[in-house]
């Protein structure tokens, strides 16, 4: 079986105002302790999943590049020693443009990394500062140039829209700059205000100047048209890539493929079970150092849950739900489970059938959650 490997680095120089993910600045000592624990988990997982062929590796965060070179090297070498990585087709590391150096990039390249994902978000310095990013527009351009110089031929960047104070002109300008960089892959994320973020607190106090719903919708429309027009195909709701450059690791999330998550708060899907590690960095370290499993117990995935997830995850991709694969996996046709809902969604123009696949239409993508919620079965 081909599986994906995810490694989580819960450190950032500074927490962005919109982020509620497991990450914190962290002292060097804490980072060292974490990497020690992580390496222990990598080693154990290497034994546990010894028979598996690793297809993709993704180191995300947080900010993996916030770690000093020595620690990054320790992790990468531990991965090399614990798993067979010879069949890896895609090895991604997430990077913050403010934390990369020529040396770090060279090191990653040497240790097998072949794809970089830069959290650029915007090319507007005022806006970057406003959302708590530590880098400038120039930092981003420089980071991409250095990555190219280090030999990376597969680079992705994230862009955000719907940010406080963002205008349509600002967004168009950022998209223009992004396109000029000719990267291979672009992800677009609309701002969501999550609890326990700086933005949430500001919104509660009425201090957040969010763009109107109409403007956010217009931004979405603009990006979902401008990127394909520039040669980036929309292969998933938020992801656009030039031919041959879609992220194989991220696709495994949507295509019902197995993946193993390592590190604090990392999620796994293996043998039709979903499980995840404890979220707090200190808990994670303590557990591993005490020789305990970092995994939290999660309720078992029932057949219903598996069917629901099979569908709403696959619908995110341009390929859509493979009805033949559904039949093979569950031993019953998708019509027998969702028949009336499927025809209603088709009638409303939210999904279409193309041979054995069911896809979201353009309208369906815009209202993805409404469609996905239809696939949740009655309890």
């Amino acid at each position: 079986m081909q599986i994906g490997l995810y490694v989580h680095i819960p450190f950032c120089r500074q927490k962005c105002f919109y982020c509620d993910f497991a990450s914190a600045a962290g002292t060097v000592l804490l980072q060292q302790a974490y990497v020690k624990a992580l390496c222990r988990e990598i080693e154990q997982a290497g034994k546990q999943y010894a028979g598996e062929s690793i297809h993709t590796v993704y180191i995300g965060g947080g900010t993996p590049t916030a770690l000093p070179e020595t620690l990054l090297q320790e992790i990468l070498e531990k991965l090399q020693h614990s798993f067979v990585l010879s069949e890896v087709v895609e090895f991604t590391v997430e990077a913050n443009p403010g934390t990369v150096t020529k040396e770090k990039l060279m090191l990653l390249k040497t240790l097998g990394v072949n794809r970089l994902s830069f959290g650029v978000q915007s090319f507007d310095d005022g806006l970057l500062k406003k959302i708590g990013r530590i880098h400038t527009s120039d930092d981003a351009l420089a980071a991409i140039a250095e990555a190219r110089a280090a030999g990376f031929s597969n680079i992705s960047m994230d862009l955000m829209y719907g940010l406080p104070g963002q205008t349509m002109e600002m967004l168009q300008e950022s998209v223009k700059t992004a396109l000029s960089q000719k990267v291979e892959h672009i992800s677009i994320y609309g701002l969501q205000i999550e609890e326990q973020t700086e933005f949430f607190r500001r919104q509660e106090r009425g201090e957040l100047d969010l763009p109107s719903d109409e403007l956010v919708d217009a931004m979405y429309e603009y990006m979902t048209k401008a990127l394909p027009a520039a040669g980036y195909g929309r292969y998933e709701i938020s992801n656009f890539a030039r031919d041959g450059f879609m992220s194989r690791h991220n696709m495994s999330y949507w295509q019902d493929k197995a993946y193993i998550g390592l590190g604090a708060s990392a999620h796994s899907y293996y043998g039709n079970e979903r499980f995840f590690n404890v979220a707090e960095t200190s808990d994670y370290i303590n557990r591993l150092m005490a020789g305990e499993s970092p995994a939290e117990v999660e309720e078992e995935s029932t057949r219903d849950i598996l069917m629901e997830e099979f569908c709403f995850l696959a619908l995110r991709t341009s390929q859509g739900i493979d009805t033949v694969a559904f039949l093979q996996k569950f031993g019953c046709g998708i019509d027998s489970v969702y028949g009336s809902k499927l025809s209603r969604l088709q009638k409303k123009g939210l999904i279409v059938q193309n041979q054995q696949y069911l896809n979201l239409t353009e309208l369906g993508m815009k209202y993805g959650n409404v469609v996905f919620a239809e696939f949740i079965l009655e309890k």
């Binding site: 709701i237 998550g261 999620h267 899907y269 995840f276 919620a373 949740i376």
Partner: protein
């Protein structure tokens, strides 16, 4: 027991004035049930009844009581349904009695509903015993209430019982007064059998059980009996009385109250008000006062999930077993699919049935706005009765329409007379009369179209009189009115279930208000939805529900699927009660929106 030692009585009271509590105390005091048994078995048995403080089904109980003279008496308490919708049932319960307790709250005074029932009791020549209840409340004014009863009803209250059922005060006095004042039954056990059916219930083993008062003659097991109105004959197998659980007895004779059961399977054969006689030696004529059941209010009930259609039918059939007044027949709506058109005695009856269907049968329903029965006179001379606005013929075929009018009696403190008159005028009411009940309280009578009453008349009456107004109404006649059908179009398509019949002078305003109200109720969807109100082909109001904003979950943090699932589950929860009408998802409350405007 000799007939002279039997007393049959009921209790007349307004909601909340303490009828159930008094009944409970009487049962307790006479030792019919112990306190512990009481808790498990009380007169108002349905949850719904207890919550709303009303009695929907009348219940009966036999009490044994040793009177002040040392003799044993058989007291039959016949409970009456306590709402305006069940007037006919109340009248039959009263017809089974020789006396009634008039229970009035010492702090509230006489209410319109009580008054209507007292007049009914007087028409039935019942001996009325005034009971002033809740005398231990700090706000109690028993003397004023006594005077009010004298002024308004003309009853002598000099020996009214002062009671507090809650504290157990006055219970013995009530029992003694019943023995002393209520006449014993006058019937003759030797005459041909005549028994009045005043209620019925369904038992899954015994079938339909008829609750009866024997007027003349005697019933024994094995007799073949006949219903004089429905013509149904059957053999009696069980005879008994309620204490309050059913207890089998060898016979029931003139003057007694109890139940009979036999080969009766269909509740429709056992009509309240019908006379039971001996099939072999029938009485010459039936007891007076029988009336068929006439629903006054109709609405459509549709399952949200069309797969529930058969379950809805089953549930309605089961409810009908105990409720002969509930009518239903299949109906199809282009907007809502297959459902039932149901007829009710009134709004409360409708409410209660809906709630029971949802609670006891776990059905999720869409209810259309209630309608009255219109008499539509066509140009070809034919008259048709319409209880569903969407069945109204085209205007070109209509000569004129008659609508039902009721006599509405409202009692309020005099400060609110202006408010009541204003609302009643607005509701097309025709002023009839106004009387002072005492220095503070006024009884106002209007003739008002029933169509307006079922809109929000009572709600508005309550809110503009700070809850003081009490209302009673009865059908008086049909009158010609200028009525039109107001249609609603969603996204260009007419939604039959949203059509209503309104007076032409109000149509334009109602249309605007309804469109605006619907705009607030129909959630934003994936496209813009025009809402139009139209009369015939003429659009009189238009609103637009704008398209909702985009709704996608962007980032998937390192394969965290459970978080996504939770959000989707929440999203699904939020939209349960919606019905797809064409391409538009319409929440349940939209179909009742017409009632909530003004």
């Amino acid at each position: 027991m000799q007939t002279k030692n039997i007393r049959n009585f009921s209790i007349i009271a307004h909601i909340d004035h303490g009828k159930s509590t008094i009944a409970d105390r009487l049962i307790e005091y006479t030792g019919t049930l112990s306190k512990r048994e009481m808790e498990a078995q009380v007169l108002d048995s349905m949850d719904l009844e207890r919550e709303r403080g009303i009695t929907i089904k009348a219940q009966t109980v036999r009490l044994d009581y040793q009177g002040a003279d040392g003799q044993m008496y058989e007291l039959n308490l016949i409970d009456t349904p306590g709402h305006v919708d069940f007037t006919y049932e109340v009248s039959r319960s009263l017809a089974a009695c020789e006396g009634a307790l008039l229970v009035v709250d010492a702090a509230q005074g006489v209410e319109a509903q009580t008054l209507a029932n007292v007049y009914m009791a007087l028409e039935n020549e019942l001996e009325i015993i005034p009971v002033i209840n809740k005398i231990d409340l700090p706000s109690a004014e028993p003397e004023m209430v006594k005077k009010e009863i004298e002024d308004v009803i003309g009853l002598d209250t000099s020996d009214a019982v002062m009671a507090s059922a809650k504290s157990g005060i006055g219970i013995k006095e009530i029992l003694d007064k019943v023995v002393e004042k209520v006449p014993s039954p006058a019937g003759d056990p030797e005459k041909p059998l005549k028994a009045l059916i005043f209620d019925s219930n369904f038992d899954s083993y015994k079938g339909v059980i008829a609750h009866i008062r024997v007027i003349d003659g005697c019933i024994k097991p094995g007799m073949t009996l006949k219903m004089m109105a429905t013509g149904k004959s059957f053999e009696v197998t069980d005879i008994g009385c309620f204490r309050p659980a059913p207890v089998i007895m060898p016979e029931l004779y003139a003057g007694q109250v109890g139940f009979i059961a036999g080969s009766l399977k269909n509740v429709k054969d056992v009509r309240v008000g019908d006379t039971v006689t001996n099939a072999e030696a029938p009485a010459a004529e039936a007891l007076p006062g029988y009336r068929g059941v006439n629903p006054m209010v109709y609405c459509g009930l549709y399952p949200i999930d069309s797969a529930d259609y058969d379950n809805l039918k089953d549930a309605l059939e089961k409810l009908q077993l105990n409720d002969a007044a509930l009518m239903f027949e299949p109906e199809t709506s282009t907007a809502l699919g297959f459902g039932y058109r149901c007829g009710f005695l009134g709004l409360l009856h409708m409410d209660v049935i809906q709630e029971r269907l949802e609670r006891e049968y776990n059905l999720k329903l869409i209810t259309t706005a209630p309608s009255v029965i219109y008499h539509v006179y066509k140009t070809n001379g034919e008259m048709i009765k319409i209880d569903n606005p969407s069945n109204l013929p085209p205007t070109t075929e209509i000569d004129h329409i008659d609508e039902p009018y009721v006599k509405a009696t409202v009692i309020v403190p005099n400060d609110y007379v202006g408010a009541v008159m204003e609302i009643s005028q607005e509701k097309r009411g025709e002023f009839k009369n106004m009387d002072y009940l005492d220095v503070n309280r006024v009884m106002i009578t209007y003739y008002i179209p029933l169509n307006e009453i079922i809109y929000d008349y009572f709600d508005r009456l309550k809110s503009s009189t700070r809850g003081y107004a009490s209302l009673d109404y009865e059908l008086v006649d049909y009158r010609q009115s200028k009525l039109v059908k107001l249609d609603v179009l969603l996204n260009g398509e007419a939604v039959d279930a949203l059509s209503t019949i309104v007076h032409i002078d109000r149509a334009a305003m109602r249309g605007r208000q309804l469109a605006a109200k619907l705009k607030g109720i129909i959630p934003q969807q994936m496209f813009e939805i025009p809402i139009q109100a139209a009369i015939g082909n003429k659009v009189i109001a238009r609103e637009t529900v704008r398209a909702m904003r985009k709704d996608v979950l962007a980032k998937c943090y390192g394969g965290d699927i459970s978080r996504k699932r939770k959000l989707l589950e929440k999203q699904k929860e939020g939209k349960k009660r919606m019905k797809s009408v064409g391409s538009v998802e319409v929440p349940q409350e939209a179909f009742m929106a017409i009632l909530k405007i003004d």
